[in-house]
Symmetry: C2
Subunit: 338 residues, 2 copies
């Protein structure tokens, strides 16, 4: 059953279970701290395909296929798939997933998409409309870089605030059933926030206010405090955005420093890997969730976690037209269910 709590938060009293999860990552991610945790590493940036876009589709295909297998299911068991990505018209998802022939509901939340798909999947399961849902997203450094910034061959200089788009994908299969874990306990859906940042090379600064707003909404709606949680993970604020998040949440009377980690800072070693302010992209939060966070919840090393994926909702066109960057952050409360 779902009950509303405050203005922005929903609570799943017998929450949907994450029956299985899988992560796929690229070669640079394989050199990072989470290397051994990914289910599969694809070392060829083109994944044996003709283009980077097709390679990104392949990442989604692999992570969905793996997650379905790990749950001992078949594609025809899945009632709905919620998926999205960063590419124009979400082509990584549509081309990557078409062969599964699963009813498809495309989601767009930029880098917040992993949290959004989990929320949509959880609501759909609780409503009775589905028995099993798949939630998947991806990003790819090469396809994102040429779409959002410059041709790779140009070798453009990147400012220190820039982040490195993760080549990776993560997929969760949601279902019901007693005893299973991790459990989705609640969610706060974000509002679009725009504090006027116009620098597309400083996504962390643009997204931090959205993350802060959603986090403040959640604690205000539920009456809980950061001490009630083992960890508070953000998606891809990176170094610049994380600092700003502390400042913004402290202005609202919340201290999350001791609990907070950012997926964009976990996936790469910033000292060794030349990623500037950290990792980013839909695939960043998704692959860290499915390789690093969910296993710890499943093993009950972490019992209560907040997962807040953040997305910047601009496009190259809106940036070229001088518009500021509207952002959104969606929060999912995941527990070990014990």
């Amino acid at each position: 059953m779902i009950t509303r709590k405050g203005r922005y938060t929903v609570v799943f009293s017998d929450g949907p279970k994450i029956l299985s999860f899988a992560s796929v990552a690229g070669p640079k991610e394989a050199q990072g701290p989470l290397s051994k945790k990914f289910d599969k590493i694809i070392y060829d940036p083109k994944a044996g395909k003709a283009t980077w876009e097709q390679a990104e589709s392949q990442l989604q295909k692999e992570s969905l296929g793996l997650a379905i297998s790990k749950a001992a299911l078949h594609a025809e068991d899945i009632d709905f798939i919620f998926s999205g990505d960063l590419l124009n018209q979400c082509i990584s998802s549509s081309y990557g997933l078409k062969d599964f022939s699963i009813p498809y509901l495309g989601q767009y939340g930029a880098c917040s998409t992993m949290a959004q798909t989990l929320i949509m999947g959880a609501i759909t399961l609780e409503s009775g409309a589905a028995r099993l849902c798949a939630c998947v997203t991806s990003s790819h450094f090469c396809s994102a870089e040429r779409q959002y910034r410059f041709p790779l061959e140009y070798g453009g200089q990147r400012p220190p605030s820039a982040q490195w788009t993760v080549t990776g994908s993560g997929c969760c299969i949601l279902g019901t059933g007693k005893g299973a874990n991790p459990v989705i306990c609640g969610a706060t859906v974000g509002r679009i926030t725009d504090l006027g940042v116009t620098d597309a090379n400083n996504m962390g600064a643009a997204m931090a206010p959205a993350a802060a707003q959603t986090i403040v909404d959640f604690f205000s709606d539920t009456g809980k405090s950061p001490s009630d949680f083992d960890r508070i993970y953000t998606g891809d604020l990176g170094q610049v955005g994380s600092k700003l998040l502390y400042s913004l949440t402290e202005d609202a009377g919340l201290n999350i420093r001791d609990k907070h980690l950012d997926c964009g800072l976990l996936i790469f070693n910033r000292d060794l890997q030349d990623v500037h302010a950290g990792g980013s992209g839909c695939g960043c939060a998704a692959s860290v969730l499915c390789s690093h966070i969910l296993p710890q919840i499943k093993e009950e090393k972490l019992k209560d976690v907040l997962f807040i994926a953040t997305g910047a909702l601009m496009s190259p066109t809106s940036c070229q037209q001088g518009q500021s960057i509207p952002c959104v952050a969606h929060l999912v409360h995941i527990s070990a269910g014990t």
Copy 2:
């Protein structure tokens, strides 16, 4: 309550109500057969803004604002907004809706988005996660044309199979409550279909197989027949796609000719308006639904209607890379509730 019916269909037994709806259209649409039915016509293609993209955002802002007013609500009453559009990164939605400060869940189904937002809204209401949802989408001829095809100034020739992207927006406010109508009674979520069409100037042909598949799925799942419905509306198959739809559904033993109308053929006068195969775009199905279809249901002139919006999930990049066009169609069963 939601029950599953067959493999692909869900039935809402005490279905969510469409409490209000609003449509906004551009100058060319104002010269068409539905001219007097739109709630608002914006005659300036730039809607007083600096760019066509900002004008498209304005269409969504206006249709959402009108629909909220017509339901005698305020923005803060709406729990979630489901929205999407055709522009890269769905910027019409994110920039158009940010000022409302409503929790935002971006959807991407290309021209199927209006049906998708209704399905997501209906499921979310039935789950108890929301009491009121807004469902909105838009398209704009000028922003779509330059993104998908050529700069307008180039004056490119259009083949007879091409369609004319509608400048328009439609919005529905969904809620619960006894007695109100129209009612959302059920839905069939589409699977991605790709029969290998690669011609981006023939969207009708690309999308017809997706529409046929979803329609066949619905009738197969429910055991109903076309004679159980007053009308079967497709979103934007146009002249070419509609003919193909008849052929494909007849191959499956269904005759829908007597019941079928296409929003893309209703919104323009093809003899007078030089739109080739008809209208298209997210705003086509949305503005026809909210100006022409829903009023007839509300007045009980139509009692049971199927609304099937179709979307082509390719991008200019995937077309340039020689990929075929994957499509999807989502079906919503709407009734007068009597």
